[in-house]
Symmetry: C2
Subunit: 372 residues, 2 copies
């Protein structure tokens, strides 16, 4: 194998595939990048048996061939080379030689035949959206994915296509995030639960651009396909929450408030609520809605905190307890200036929505307040 390529080009490819490299593994081959030539292209592949990433670039192939090299070492060396042409080849001793101006590096290689093959996917259903739209959908939901391995289905995000509308849903038993958008092209109805870890990696690889990305689904696998790059992942098996049934459609109490103002209140008060020695869940903050104002308060052994904010209110007065972290997560996900917060009773879920956009719904379950 012998190729000549520009640093920029190959570094972009390496940066994408390196995210699929296994970090803790007893199989050294999974810590490697498979490099394969194919006419005037090379394909870089990584696969940790859960996520597989392929990236193809054009380059000057002097001699066809393939090899596997440790991903971290290879990427670090390429990253630090000058911005110019790099010669990469495998020598007679089976070492990968990287040559660039006065620098010559030789790295041990592994047998490309031992690199596990990526699963072949027979795409049954697919949609195409813009990469920045997918980025936005992931950002607004992924933080609500469960980290509890006991119910694996909730460690992923539901991608549901229904009547040409894509909804992405994450839920962890305490809150739920739902972002939806209409698709430009006619599509079949289908759904799949994609692991949160995969979406995190996809999110790092896709760009904040209008470039398209195709999401295809087979029985057990999903495929994210961009111009030069393919990401293969398993999909999660099991019954996802019937989310439409749990989101309340009416409210008893509603406030409309500047997002930054109430975010600041919750940030300050969580200094007190989360500093308590015991678990924070035991010290919810109390939210009181009265005509024209909301009071958020909290008392524990660290101290005493009260935040009063004048807001526009509708409906009944209310008192309920919440984990402030769950509110803060939603405020970070909402880009608009004003939010509605809708309450039922003190024991029913509360919704946070943007005033300007109705494509995002965030639901929080209350915590029962201790009777003092």
């Amino acid at each position: 194998m012998k190729i000549v390529c520009y640093k920029d080009n190959i570094l972009k490819a390496i940066n994408s595939v390196v995210k699929g490299v296994a970090s803790k593994t007893t199989m050294p081959i999974l810590e490697g990048i498979l490099i394969q030539t194919n006419d005037d292209e090379i394909k870089l592949t990584t696969y940790d048996l859960e996520i597989g990433i392929e990236y193809v670039i054009k380059c000057d192939v002097k001699e066809q061939g393939s090899t596997v090299v440790n991903a971290i070492m290879f990427s670090e060396i390429i990253r630090k080379l000058p911005d110019t042409e790099i010669n990469i080849s495998v020598n007679n001793n089976n070492l990968l030689e990287i040559e660039c101006e006065g620098a010559l590096y030789k790295l041990a290689t592994m047998n490309p035949d031992e690199f596990p093959e990526l699963p072949k996917i027979e795409v049954e259903n697919s949609i195409e959206i813009e990469q920045n739209a997918l980025k936005n959908m992931i950002r607004k939901t992924i933080f609500a994915v469960s980290s509890e391995e006991s119910r694996p289905i909730f460690t992923g995000c539901l991608f549901e296509i229904e009547n040409n509308k894509l909804s992405v849903v994450a839920v962890d038993g305490f809150r739920l995030a739902l972002r939806s958008m209409y698709l430009n092209k006619q599509s079949n109805n289908f759904s799949a639960v994609i692991p949160g870890r995969t979406l995190n990696e996809v999110n790092k690889i896709i760009s904040d651009s209008f470039e398209p990305i195709k999401i295809g689904v087979s029985k057990n696998q999903a495929l994210f396909e961009m111009e030069n790059c393919k990401i293969v992942t398993r999909i999660l098996d099991g019954e996802f929450l019937n989310y439409k049934n749990v989101i309340p459609s009416n409210w008893e109490t509603r406030i409309r408030v500047n997002k930054n103002s109430i975010q600041n209140c919750f940030e300050r008060i969580s200094l007190i609520s989360s500093s308590a020695v015991e678990k924070e869940k035991k010290y919810p903050v109390k939210v009181n809605v009265d005509i024209g104002k909301v009071v958020i308060s909290c008392t524990n052994q660290t101290g005493d905190a009260k935040e009063e904010l004048y807001v526009s209110t509708e409906g009944k007065n209310l008192e309920a307890g919440f984990n402030p972290k769950y509110f803060l997560d939603s405020f970070k996900a909402i880009d608009d200036e004003e939010v509605y917060i809708e309450f039922g009773s003190s024991i029913s879920p509360c919704l946070v929505k943007s005033v300007e956009n109705n494509d995002y719904t965030y639901m929080i379950l209350p915590i029962r307040l201790k009777e003092d």
Copy 2:
């Protein structure tokens, strides 16, 4: 105690003193900030029994008094309040009340009489320099301070004033950094070894400005004095290295090289040299100087690396082994474009100097190369 102050003002004071707060202590009072009013000023003090920091600001004192409050909690709350006037007072239950717009926080306080008194310093000798000059001197030497507690004197920097010249020296047994500057004002000769930890904190507190800072020394203590802020520290006891005797004054081999070019070579090669499973000390990089070029190379089980750089050389050819990290530290400390690297024999120390400035000298001891 009751004061009214602007957030900006008190936050600046808190940010400075909070660096003196004990992090791991069994005495909760040392995790506190002592707040004391004095006419129309308040003084904030922290002291971890090694470094003491005082900061004085003007504010509207409604009621004289003093208290101690947990530093982290107090600083976090103030930091997150809006940019406006803050009311701070101690209520009848001995809680510190912080009031600002709709926010009201009450924090537990501690008894100010139990706060340890900072040592009184009888300054015997002192100098005054600009804060940015001190910052520069600390930055260029502190990384060479020893972290080995077995020889405590080398965990500090020597400050030596001799014939109106200030020299700051750090040494750790493998390399030495020396930065010197002439003082504007006549000064006595004296010297003191200031703990590296103190200098790190001083460095964070002083600004990158021409504002003056006075460094005063008594028998056991040193005092850094700025307009609103004083830092007290113990000085280290013992005999520092007679550094003038160990810095070679002649060279046998000298190269002159663009700093960034050689820095890049050492950065890349240290990817290989420091990746070896065994301790990096056992895998020095080999430096070869021949007429018109320098070759840096390294071989271990990870791979093989060679960097060739065309440079201007003087004197004999040379082969010697070094830890590349020590070179990299010096390149980061030197702001100029070109450096001299001066070698003696393969077993004598090597010097790195700026070509443009002679106020900085950095010395590295070689590592004996293994005979293959």
